[in-house]
Symmetry: C2
Subunit: 440 residues, 2 copies
């Protein structure tokens, strides 16, 4: 017991040391222009490739531990790094180096009536705490995006990838040693217990923002407990609404693509809603196509009823919970709605405000859906799968925000910045009756 | 005890009713275009003027209560409403109606290589909880800015202005009754105890953002306790740094204006720093001018030393705490620094990242100060007093954010919005090898 207390105290001390070093590094990193940051990113990419053997060796320990723990082979594959995957990670870093620097962009600017020159300039946020699960490539991706946008990255990856993350971070820090970017710009948060997350969440004043990436329970606990500002990411209970005015064949294809093209990601559809006027024609077609794609439908009573006539298709009866579920699997909930407004009401009540799609030929209905669905992204006659920083042309993505403040939807480099107002005068003084210039 | 429990439970129920009504109103208010919102604002302005007598009568009760409680006359004056002040409040509402609508602005937009039409569109945040102290005019100002930007306002004003706030809110709601804006778009949070603030802070999912406006202790407690996202406002420990290359006469005027033009506001200066190369010449001039303006200087040992030779000026010895203090009074802390970088380090260590000024003739020094001071606003050869939504040309201000996420510096109507991505296709499907159009 005394030992565990000591270990806790040591972990807290270690965290403070890391966070303070991060804050100091942020002050040096923030004013750097693009060239030294890009040089540092290229040095990281080169080091990752030249030290592939170390990475693979460390990763093998994580893989062995996962195998001993009986982790499923699909999950182990997500964890595994080989030379080809390391090369891809390095290539992604080089691509980040090739992107424009968001820092220094003048977002707004004018000369005020009193002659003050006013500029709003993009600046780094400062110290970004990343809390993530799963694949070790996120360690490098997140560090690269933070560095490019002038931010210090404090990385807290999954304990299952601890050996890999430790080596990847050490290699990145070594690579920074010969550059103008301070090596403390990239640091692993010490410790693998829940406590290390707690330290991040309490580090107001040292950490400027936390970005949790992972399952709903991780994200909810960070949102609930953190006093550091949080950007909520990624929970996607996405809908496809098939309107009375839809091209039904198009609707079937959009639905199947939204659900089944890659069911494990947050922009995959989890529910479809169909207007009652076309339900009788649409539902059998949709059920057949979904069954062919290997998807199990959890339907409301009317969907179950409509399924009766369809050969070889069975629909599970949906509970209320099904409509709240982010399956991330070959499952989808389904309901018949009486109107577009009912569809919108359903989406507002059950959705996660990530991405919701309408399929319709009607300009008016599309317009109403777009205006009244309050989600980060709305797709009109397109698959929900396009909500993605890469697809949107951001070049890279640190996550998809489902909150309304700061950033909403896919977050690229600009979303990792704040702004600063600068105004320049020549002795401008404010008085009750207006501006006066000193000495005149 | 049982009675107080019952009262608590009732207050919690009342809060939920108000918050749910707010959320429902937000869904109706968000899609409204500018015209009905402006009409509603003008109806509010007219109602305030025509019902001035009710407002003044209610306000007299607040004033009488404050007087009984022995509140200082200056504070009572801030609380007081008369016909002239009500007219000014109504006029401010009309000015908000005259401002452009931020909602619907296309922030970014392009046609993606695959033909998807992508737009990022400004939308209301939803339900805004305002927690504020002091003057009852904030009740109307905040409601007007929220309404114009399509947001529902849940108002939690000071208990000292409860009667005034209740009547002002009732009049605004009555005025909305004949308009397209739902009356629940403007609501007072029930109850006057700390509990009513607690309810707001726990209302994640019903309230989208909290904006606390008031003293540091109010703001800190909201930041610490809220699980609803918060925009931190207003604590201003602002600095004026007088560089080695400064025009010293200009510097004196900028310093005195920054401190003394209106000491009670957050953009007033609370510390000045002077480069040692010019301290001997600058400090006596500055001390004389500050003394003339009625300002007490709390100086470090070198300032105290330099004050010895100045007739009729006494400097209080500063403690470390003085450099952290937002005086909001005719007091200022002062220190001599060895370099511009030392000044920046001081500002980073003690400041609140609101507004910091440099006075210098040197382009290089101004550039370095702007790049390395990490504050919401930086003034070059200008008074700190210009950090203000009105001065910046926003037309109105809901507060000044001192945080880095979402909004930084003065917040106008645009800062009360989020965005929504909309993409429109013609059957766009995502596949591993790129976009495919359904049916082709």
């Amino acid at each position: 017991m005394a030992d565990s207390k000591r270990a806790e105290a040591r972990e807290a001390d270690d965290f403070l040391r890391v966070a303070r070093a991060g804050k100091a590094a942020a002050a040096l990193l923030a004013p750097l222009p693009r060239a030294p940051k890009d040089a540092a990113l290229r040095a990281i990419a080169d080091a990752l490739v030249s030290r592939t053997d170390e990475i693979v060796a460390a990763n093998e320990k994580d893989v062995a531990r996962a195998r001993e723990a009986g982790v499923a082979e699909a999950m182990i594959d997500r964890l595994r790094l080989d030379a080809g995957r390391v090369e891809k990670i390095a290539e992604a870093v080089r691509q980040v180096a090739d992107l424009p620097d968001p820092v220094g962009e003048v977002v707004r600017g004018s000369t005020l009536p009193n002659g003050l020159e006013l500029r709003q300039i993009r600046v780094p946020i400062g110290v970004v705490g990343m809390i993530y699960e799963g694949r070790p490539n996120v360690t490098v991706d997140a560090a690269a995006l933070c560095l490019k946008s002038g931010n210090v990255a404090l990385l807290r990856g999954s304990s299952s990838a601890y050996e890999s993350n430790t080596v990847l971070t050490a290699i990145m820090r070594d690579a920074l040693d010969g550059t103008e970017v301070p090596k403390d710009a990239v640091q692993l948060v010490p410790g693998v217990t829940r406590d290390s997350v707690k330290h991040l969440m309490r580090a107001r004043g040292l950490v400027d923002v936390l970005i949790p990436r992972g399952g709903a329970s991780l994200i909810n606990s960070v949102v609930e407990e953190s006093i550091v500002p949080v950007i909520e990411t990624g929970v996607g209970n996405c809908h496809v609404y098939v309107d009375a005015e839809a091209d039904l064949d198009l609707a079937v294809e959009i639905l199947v693509n939204s659900k089944a093209q890659r069911p494990s990601v947050c922009n995959a559809a989890e529910t479809f809603l169909v207007h009652e006027a076309v339900a009788e024609e649409f539902v059998p077609k949709a059920l057949r196509a979904l069954a062919e794609a290997g998807v199990t439908v959890h339907g409301d009573p009317r969907i179950v009823e409509l399924a009766r006539g369809v050969d070889g298709v069975t629909v599970v009866e949906a509970t209320e919970d099904d409509f709240r579920t982010e399956y991330l699997s070959y499952d989808i909930a389904a309901a018949v709605v009486g109107s577009l407004d009912d569809a919108v009401a359903h989406i507002r009540a059950y959705g996660s405000a990530h991405t919701d799609a309408i399929v319709t030929r009607s300009v008016g209905n599309a317009r109403r859906f777009v205006a009244t669905v309050d989600s980060a992204a709305i797709a009109v006659n397109a698959s929900t799968r396009f909500t993605d920083g890469g697809e949107f042309g951001f070049g890279a993505e640190i996550g998809i925000s489902t909150q309304k403040l700061h950033a909403r939807g896919p977050m690229g480099l600009a979303e990792l910045t704040s702004t600063k107002w600068v105004y320049t005068g020549e002795g401008h003084l404010r008085t009750a009756s207006g501006t006066v210039i000193a000495g005149r």
